[in-house]
């Protein structure tokens, strides 16, 4: 991707969108329906999937890093920064790999990313707590990530369909 004003502006807009989406989903906690602490819809992942396909890996990574850092600043919770960074980057890595698999649709990539996000967050939990007992929670998170991954994949699909007529990143 060329570093022209258009693409810089697009990255900024997507970063703002991701931040807005994570703030939005904090206002409507899924934990009311699924009583598992830490479960989120992962709406910001829609932006990551979109950026990965539309702009490429490097801009998507930049957007992700900016989102995590700014989100940590907004939430005023620096211990959460390690969780979102590790989760986000694990998800990104898996999605970059899965994107190259021709047989996969946006659903497969999104589910893989959601599951990887949970694994990354578990790694952060193991690091901060210094023991592996928390890993017992991983099966539940992985099961939920199947649902949320499918959901965000579906929404990202809607987004791609809508964008076909707009040609945003010319």
């Amino acid at each position: 991707m060329k570093l022209n004003p258009r693409s810089i502006a697009l990255c900024a807009v997507l970063t703002a969108l991701a931040l807005g989406l994570s703030t939005l989903e904090n206002l409507f906690p899924v934990t009311l329906i699924v009583p598992l602490p830490g479960v989120k819809l992962g709406l910001a992942n829609i932006v990551t999937v979109f950026a990965l396909y539309e702009l490429g890996a490097v801009p998507a990574l930049t957007i992700l890093a900016a989102r995590c850092l700014l989100g940590g600043v907004f939430a005023g919770n620096l211990s959460a920064l390690l969780f979102s960074l590790l989760g986000g980057f694990t998800a990104m890595l898996v999605m970059i790999v899965l994107k190259h698999c021709r047989g996969l649709s946006v659903y497969g990539v999104s589910i893989g990313g959601a599951a990887a996000h949970n694994i990354g967050q578990m790694a952060a939990a193991v690091i901060t707590l210094g023991n592996t007992m928390v890993l017992g929670y991983l099966p539940f998170l992985l099961a939920v990530s199947l649902v949320t991954g499918t959901l965000t994949g579906f929404v990202a699909g809607l987004l791609f369909r809508a964008m076909r007529n707009i040609h945003l990143s010319h």
Binding site: S79, L104, S105, V106, L146
Partner: protein, 144 residues
């Protein structure tokens, strides 16, 4: 479109099921690792017996005698603590219960067997608390 952009296929493909299957397999494997009874090693369980608020003994479960143990409680009551061992799958290989007590309520007997860290048997009349503690950290929850 820029050179990097690529359109994903928007309809689910058969291989997507493979990704889902891998995630499910991972969930099942971690679940089995953590929720099957431990076979030796792992965390060290310790049986703590308290009478009248004072700790009487603290024994690793591996060093407990094979037969029943008598506990002299307050008020002249006596409890009999019986360990049991099992080779059955999906049942703890070691557990302990109060098999007999001459206390009036018999709540301690009806509590049944305990086998995991955090579980306890309490006999109020005799003021006896039998609990299993783990040497491993027992973090309940972490809120981000």
């Amino acid at each position: 479109m820029t050179s990097n952009s690529s359109q994903p296929s928007l309809r689910p493909k058969p291989l997507d099921a493979l990704v889902a299957a891998v995630v499910i397999a991972l969930a099942v494997v971690t679940a089995l690792l953590f929720y099957l009874p431990k076979t030796g090693g792992g965390d060290q369980l310790t049986l703590v017996i308290t009478v009248g608020g004072q700790e009487q003994s603290r024994t690793p479960v591996t060093q407990l005698p094979d037969g029943p143990v008598r506990i002299e409680g307050r008020g002249g009551y006596t409890l009999t603590l019986s360990p049991s061992y099992s080779d059955l799958p999906f049942s703890p290989e070691w557990s302990v219960r109060v098999s007999d007590s001459d206390c009036p309520g018999q709540d301690c007997v009806h509590t049944g067997a305990i086998s995991r860290a955090g579980q306890s048997i309490v006999c109020l009349p005799a003021q006896v608390v039998i609990s299993i503690v783990s040497t491993a950290s027992d973090v309940d929850a972490v809120l981000g």
